[in-house]
């Protein structure tokens, strides 16, 4: 893991056109390079370069890939990994043949769907008849029991089947059950065969039940056929699994090659390309290009500090164990190039906050169990859709569960009960107003703890910001910014002042000989920030502004900055009281549920209430604690040091999921 964003270097290489394909494949295999368009060369040289001419348009490749993916998804086939061997032995891509193969498969699936539709219509028809019978709407049914005087009964049956209904012709008298709306058609056909109604009253009485029983049986068998056809459709795709996977790899590699080559420029015999590579991989990439070209290439490396830092892509490396927290950082934004990697700090801060808000050994264990079970289920079925408890949440619960358990041990809580002595203090007892000794005696003490925790987090944020600014050599901001040294000093004065005031029992403000001079010096720094910034800007070639404009800007900036300094830091700090708030709510809710559980005399009811209470608290409080921890990280911690102005590093490789220009 790197403490800071990864150092980057820009590669510019020229290779012979004959070696282009080999180079592209080798670079894709490495997957550590983000390509950039050659746009920095002088215009006269650029004119001699030509753009990449596609053999197969990339849009066609993408359409084909999406089509293969759609069919694979329908057949529950996971996308394959592209290995080095699959590139080396990559066959030519015959788009027309591929299209024909997919059309054939798609066509055979359509045939199955057609069969399914016919069966479904029959099922609907039989169901309609049964429903009429069940709802006593016999009037819509046309039951006939009788015999034919001439003609072949098989012929009659075939003609009746075309209308639809249940026809029992295996024994005499024949039974025909149709819908009344078809009765005229049925009569016309039956008349041709000399149908006469049977006088057998027993047969007449039992005919309806027999016909409905048959309809039910047919529905059962047709539903079986429907399921088999669904299965058959899936099987037909599964039978083509190997072909689909091979085609997908072929199309995907061609698509990636097209993507990479779209960044290339060409002279008559050479290919020129450029891109960013993490500095750790530069030797490897150089070797790869040399190997692919047999040494017939020119490679040039440019360090990131020689170009505009805003244009350098940002790569952060964190150990696998911190992946869920890396995603939290990614969701927020990308840090600037050369700044501190926020992931490890986010992980620590997030887990501490969650543990303080949701401290319970038993409930934490439940979260851990849910995380483990969910992870196993998703691992077993990689194509499974994310449910309410998503893959990411399961992964996160593997951390939040243990954090909550540690909190539970510190505060002596297991499913909201004081099952074992607390390592630090008994949270539930303090909330209930029955402290058992120690320094923490009331909820105010808990609030004080969380405020101190908040102060530590804010100081850490400021400290990280100072390191970032020093590394980026932005000394002006380091001194004058509200998150710079002046902000740090004002914040420290504010804390000293607040503690003095609280320490006196809210009776008097503290005083010290250094207080006013330091505060006024800080305010003076805030005042001169604007004019000084203007002078420095002028030296760097920025435009001239009128003195009145600079003066007005200075006054306005001063007012806003001072407001932000005082109210911003105050609200940021007090915001951490929510950590205590959630913790107290957790303890109070558990206590309320146990009091409710104690009310009924019935032990089963008591256990049920306790279980329901625990489940509700785990779901609702767990969710609240998770969201509040994230909020504190994003708004109170990140805003101190994380500008989010960076561009994410997106290397193109065989495992790249998305290809974008």
């Amino acid at each position: 893991m790197s403490m800071f964003t990864q150092k980057m270097r820009m590669l510019t290489a020229v290779v012979m056109d004959n070696d282009r394909e080999k180079v592209v494949k080798a670079l894709l295999e490495k997957g550590v390079m983000e390509f950039v368009h050659i746009g920095t060369l002088p215009a006269d040289k650029m004119q001699k370069l030509s753009a990449h001419a596609s053999t197969i348009p990339r849009a066609a490749l993408t359409d084909m890939r999406v089509r293969v993916e759609t069919l694979m998804k329908e057949g529950a086939i996971a996308l394959p990994d592209i290995e080095k061997t699959s590139i080396d032995d990559l066959p030519d891509l015959d788009m027309e043949a591929a299209r024909r193969a997919l059309d054939r498969l798609s066509g055979s699936l359509d045939t199955i769907r057609g069969q399914q539709r016919e069966i479904n219509q029959k099922i609907n028809f039989y169901k309609e008849m049964i429903r009429y019978k069940d709802e006593k709407d016999d009037e819509y049914l046309d039951l006939r029991v009788g015999l034919t005087s001439h003609g072949d009964s098989k012929d009659l049956l075939a003609r009746l089947e075309a209308i639809g209904g249940v026809f029992l012709f295996s024994s005499k008298p024949f039974i025909s059950l149709t819908l009344r709306r078809d009765s005229s058609r049925v009569t016309d056909i039956m008349d041709k065969f000399g149908w006469t109604e049977s006088t057998d009253t027993e047969a007449q009485k039992g005919a309806m039940a027999e016909a409905i029983g048959e309809a039910n049986e047919r529905i059962g068998s047709l539903e079986g056929e429907l399921r088999s056809l669904s299965e058959e459709a899936r099987k037909r795709i599964a039978d083509k699994e190997a072909e689909l996977k091979a085609l997908w790899i072929n199309v995907r590699v061609h698509e990636l090659c097209e993507h990479v080559e779209s960044f290339f420029s060409y002279t008559k015999n050479t290919t020129l390309f450029s891109g960013w590579v993490p500095s750790d991989d530069t030797d490897d990439i150089s070797r790869t290009i040399y190997d692919a070209t047999g040494g017939k290439c020119i490679i040039e490396w440019t360090d990131a500090d020689q170009v505009d830092p805003d244009s350098v892509p940002v790569s952060m490396t964190s150990p696998k164990i911190l992946r869920p927290f890396e995603r939290m950082v990614d969701n927020y934004s990308t840090p600037e190039y050369g700044s501190i990697n926020p992931t490890p700090f986010t992980a620590i801060a997030y887990l501490c906050m969650f543990a303080l808000m949701f401290a319970d050994l038993g409930q934490g264990f439940v979260l851990l169990l849910v995380g483990i079970i969910g992870t196993i289920i998703y691992k077993r079925d990689p194509l499974r859709k994310d449910g309410l408890i998503s893959r990411y949440l399961c992964n996160l619960l593997l951390y939040l569960g243990p954090a909550s358990m540690v909190g539970g041990i510190l505060f002596g809580s297991c499913f909201g009960r004081p099952v074992f002595p607390a390592l630090w203090f008994d949270y539930e007892a303090v909330v209930a107003g029955e402290p058992v000794g120690g320094l923490v005696q009331s909820v105010y003490d808990i609030l004080a703890i969380t405020i101190k925790f908040g102060i530590c987090v804010i100081y850490l944020g400021l400290f990280l910001n100072w390191i970032n600014l020093i590394r980026k050599k932005r000394f002006f901001e380091l001194v004058f910014d509200k998150n710079g040294l002046v902000g740090g000093v004002v914040y420290t004065i504010g804390i000293w002042f607040a503690y003095g005031f609280v320490g006196s029992g809210y009776k008097e403000f503290p005083s010290a000989p250094w207080f006013m001079p330091v505060l006024l010096s800080c305010l003076a720094l805030v005042v001169i920030k604007g004019p000084l910034g203007y002078i420095i800007g002028r030296r760097h070639g920025k435009g001239r502004e009128s003195i009145a404009r600079v003066a007005i800007d200075t006054v306005m900036d001063f007012v806003v900055e001072v407001l932000e300094l005082f109210s911003g830091f105050l609200s940021n700090t007090l915001s951490f009281m929510r950590v205590a708030g959630l913790g107290i709510a957790h303890a109070s809710l558990m206590s309320a549920f146990y009091q409710m559980a104690a009310m009924p005399d019935n032990a089963v009811a008591a256990i049920a209430i306790a279980v329901v209470g625990n489940v509700l608290v785990i779901v609702l409080e767990g969710l609240s604690a998770g969201i509040q921890s994230l909020r504190l990280n994003y708004y109170e911690f990140f805003t101190k040091y994380f500008t989010g102005h960076g561009i994410a590093f997106e290397p193109v490789g065989l495992k790249s999921r998305i290809v974008s220009d």
Binding site: D103, F125, G164
Partner: protein, 364 residues
């Protein structure tokens, strides 16, 4: 209750749902899909996911469309549950439109069976039989052997009176069209009444949007039934929905009694909707000449496209208006229906193996 408490929750919910409607992207992917099955697969992971499931298990597109309609009904009921009583009542009238379409399907099947003597057995399964707004006995409609029997299916519903105005003979002679128009008029009458029950800004907003809706419907009636099907002016007057600018203005100017009724109506339409005056002027009253008929069809398609676009714009304007009004609800259901119709149209086109270009042309 304040407007904020009435609408804050439901409108936030609907705005979030509108935000994830991605019809253009989805429709484009569906059109590109080379087969119906592959087009259906694109619905996975969208709010139409259940349609893909129904299609895969039954292979039956109409079954999937029925499930889409059931979903729409459920959506109306869900949203009505979040609204204050007067707005919920208005939504129930909008749901009546869904019921009306379902009812028309049932009537068409009955007509097909009894009047035209076509078999309807398999098709009857695609009519939604559960209660939508009024207790209509759909089974009775589709199994009725006579007009009187069919009419009894509407007993105790507002449709009873409309159905009683017709007979088997009149339908045999004129087709179902007059009855469908009468049902449409009934719905617009209900809509007009429901609009009066809305309060303050909600009423203004809804009146404005439905006034445009009615105008657009009337323009379509005029172009289709006057120019295309040669409906005489006196009958045309009874076809027009007596709401909105065009009908009110035509009534004011006594267009039906004038020497040139169609000229007067055309003038009214052109004044209020000048963007389509050229198309309307271009329509010729003859179907003897095949070229003219084809040209007329093209002009009408262009008018329909313009009116559809205009309608969409009016509804989209609602989203930029007050966040605590019925506007967001109306816009949501418009977009919902629009998306449903597009998905349905593309699936049907794929079923008939239309080419990508033809589908795009038909949808544009």
């Amino acid at each position: 209750m304040s407007k904020v408490s009435d609408y804050a929750f439901v409108n936030a919910k609907l705005r979030a749902r509108i935000g994830i409607m991605r019809s253009s992207h989805l429709i484009d992917e569906m059109i590109k899909a080379p087969s119906l099955g592959e087009a259906v697969s694109k619905l996975e992971g969208t709010r139409f996911g259940h349609i893909a499931e129904v299609y895969r298990s039954t292979g039956d597109l109409q079954q999937a469309e029925l499930s889409m309609m059931e979903e729409e009904i459920a959506s109306y009921r869900e949203i009505a549950g979040y609204l204050p009583a007067h707005s919920a009542r208005f939504l129930t009238v909008l749901l009546e439109k869904v019921e009306m379409d379902n009812l028309k399907n049932a009537l068409r099947l009955w007509y097909s069976d009894v009047v035209r003597h076509h078999m309807i057995s398999f098709r009857s399964a695609y009519v939604c039989r559960s209660l939508i707004v009024h207790p209509i006995d759909y089974d009775k409609i589709m199994n009725a052997e006579s007009y009187q029997e069919m009419a009894r299916a509407f007993a105790g519903t507002p449709y009873e009176e409309v159905v009683s105005r017709f007979s088997l003979d009149s339908l045999t002679e004129n087709g179902l069209f007059p009855m469908e128009i009468a049902l449409d008029h009934l719905w617009f009458k209900h809509l007009d009444e429901a609009l009066r029950h809305l309060k303050g800004d909600d009423r203004k907003l809804a009146e404005k949007i439905y006034s445009v809706d009615v105008d657009l419907k009337n323009i379509l009636m005029l172009t289709r039934y006057s120019y295309y099907f040669h409906l005489p002016p006196e009958k045309l007057k009874s076809v027009l929905i007596p709401m909105g600018y065009i009908a009110t203005e035509a009534d004011k100017r006594k267009a039906a009694e004038s020497d040139d009724p169609m000229g007067t109506i055309r003038e009214i339409v052109e004044r209020h909707y000048p963007q389509i005056s050229e198309e309307i002027a271009g329509i010729r009253r003859t179907t003897d000449d095949l070229t003219a008929a084809a040209e007329n069809a093209d002009q009408i398609l262009r008018i329909e496209a313009y009116l559809g676009e205009r309608r969409k714009k009016e509804y989209m304007k609602l989203l930029g208006g007050s966040p605590f009004s019925i506007g967001v609800v109306l816009a949501y259901f418009f977009l919902y229906k629009h998306e449903d119709s597009l998905v349905s149209a593309v699936l049907s086109a794929k079923n008939y193996k239309w080419t990508e270009d033809r589908i795009r042309e038909a949808l544009s």
